[in-house]
Amino acid sequence: MEQFKSPQNQNNKTNLAKKKKTSLLHKFRGNLKYQKYLFVYTCLLLPIIFYLGIRILPTLFTFNVGFRDWNLLSTDIQPFVGIENYVTLFQDEIFIKSIFNTLIYIILGVSGQLLFGIIVALLLHKINRFVGFFRVIYFIPYVTSIVAISWVFQWILMGNGIINDVLVNLGFPAQPFLNSPDQAIYVIIAAMIWQSIGFQMVLFLAGLENIPEMLYEAADIDGATGWQKFWHVTVPLLNPTIVFSAVIGTITFIQVSFTQVINMSMDGSGGPLNSTLSVVVYIYQLAFKQFDMGLASAATVILFLFILALTIFQMKVLTKKFDY
């Protein structure tokens, strides 16, 4: 509210000033307009060149390359081959596997970080002391380098690493973790969740603080249990935060999955047995190990459509209207 008062005053002042300077203003109006346009277009010149040259045209170029047989090693001709690259990709078992893995990364990873983010935020909301202290601790992994953290996890989880030592000392069998085609992907997902809890916690904490205390009091009067209050007051009112977090989480996960897989998987390229291979890692291999730009571009187009569909799906399914 206060923000709006000061411009009002300003407005009155300018009105007074305007009356005095009408004749002057008349003279300057043409000049002012010219100056405005000059300012707008000079400032937009570089950004327009940037967005066209480095974002829009390259995007269109990728679509184009996807329809061609384009290998960097045989540079001479890049014949148009229609949808051949797409057909090849969908017949490629490894590509299908990488899409499937990416879905697992997103579904488990994003729901995991939302769940733990909410839990930590709720716990922090309940306590009065040391809130700032805990918030800093939970947030630290988010600001640290993913590459460094991936290697730390490799070290902790290796065959004779500390976790297995503790397991054996407690009488459990040692686990292969990243060496096992069945466990590796879940270990990587756990590391991704571990790293992003802090970010989600901050968002949810802000969401929780925006819920009016009044609503909980009303629920108390109606005799609601803690669980009922959570499902019928907290969750619906956090809905916008949940949608935002899910969409952001998905987009960052797709990127992070590359860094994490390259640095955490045993062979540095999605192993063992391609069990941790994500789409982005596969695209990287196609483009920069096999130099098959046509196939790689077609794969990025599929990734683009995949993300688009997922985002629309999340917005539709997660956004709900609640009545009070």
Binding site: F4, P7, Q10, N11, A17, K18, K21, L25, L32, K36, Y37, V40, Y41, L44, P47, F50, Y51, I54, R55, I56, L57, P58, T59, F61, T62, V65, V120, L123, I127, G132, V136, F139, I140, V143, T144, S145, I146, V147, A148, W151, V152, W155, F199, V202, L203, A206, T241, F244, I254, Q255, F258, T259, N263, V280, A287, F288, T300, L303, F304, I307
Partner: protein
């Protein structure tokens, strides 16, 4: 009753241990001699800085660190300047082509970076940008997200405030820097922190565009170091990881209030 009040603290402490343990173990391993690293003690029995000395002398961590700082700083400054300016212009001026330009910029938000690396790589090799700072930098100089964010904040500045300055004879550049920018300062600092962090951690593009070891950024350098020259020498890998992680944690603890406020601010938009 007392237990119920203490339970959240208990759970949060258990969680904190899980959050901090990897860092503690990392630092602990980096302070151990090669023979001691499989020893389970968290506090090293014979702590040594030998690993740090070896790494700083024999590999290029300092160089990589500086490269990362240069890349992240230049990108952040460029993003802050251009995104704020474009956001301001789109929010506060009406001119021919405004909607088209805004839609054009917004549409770039839908395209994942992964889709652009192939044309960027071809462009870079065509123009000789591979293996240069410019090659690492150019894709990130402006962001659609930043323009969108700044437009949201700039729209809240009352037009009368800007017009009053115009009547007073201020030129448009001065109005932007002296009137508009101070009004949205919290949003600018939030955008700055995000941009710096994501460029500091960028991995995919620097990995592709840089060939010579001396131009690597810290994440790329650490990755090659860990899988190459220091393979399986975990005391050295953990030392490298510590060098790349600790400075950022310290900066974060110093600036944590601003950072957390910044995320809250952008998240609520």
């Amino acid at each position: 009753m007392r237990f119920r009040r203490l339970l959240p603290y208990l759970l949060l402490i258990i969680g904190s241990v899980i959050m901090l343990f990897p860092f503690i173990w990392m630092v602990s391993t980096s302070l151990k001699a090669p023979l001691d690293i499989f020893n389970l003690s968290i506090i090293p029995e014979n702590p040594t800085l030998a690993n740090y000395i070896k790494i700083l002398e024999e590999s290029m961590f300092i160089k990589w660190f500086m490269n990362s700082i240069i890349v992240a700083l230049i990108t952040t400054i460029s993003v802050l300047f251009f995104d704020t300016l474009v956001g301001y212009i789109i929010a506060k001026f009406s001119f021919v082509g405004r909607t088209v330009i805004f839609i054009l910029i917004l549409s770039t938000l839908m395209v994942p970076t992964e889709m652009l690396i192939i044309p960027w790589y071809m462009m870079s090799s065509e123009f000789g940008w591979t293996d240069t700072y410019w090659g690492v930098l150019f894709p990130g100089l402006m962001t659609g997200f930043g323009v969108f964010l700044m437009r949201q904040f700039m729209e809240q500045i009352p037009d009368d405030l800007l017009n009053a300055a115009r009547v007073d004879g201020m030129n448009e550049y001065a109005i932007f820097f002296k009137i508009a920018v101070p009004q949205v300062w919290p949003a600018i600092s939030a955008l700055g922190i995000f941009t710096f962090l994501s460029n500091w951690n960028a991995f995919l593009w620097p990995l592709i565009v840089i060939e010579s070891p001396s131009l690597r950024t810290l994440p790329v350098g650490l990755s090659f170091f860990s899988s190459g020259e220091a393979e399986s020498q975990w005391h050295l890998i953990m030392t490298g990881a510590t060098i790349s992680v600790i400075p950022l944690i310290l900066v974060f603890i110093l600036l944590q209030r601003h950072i957390i406020k910044g995320i809250t601010l952008t998240g609520m938009k």
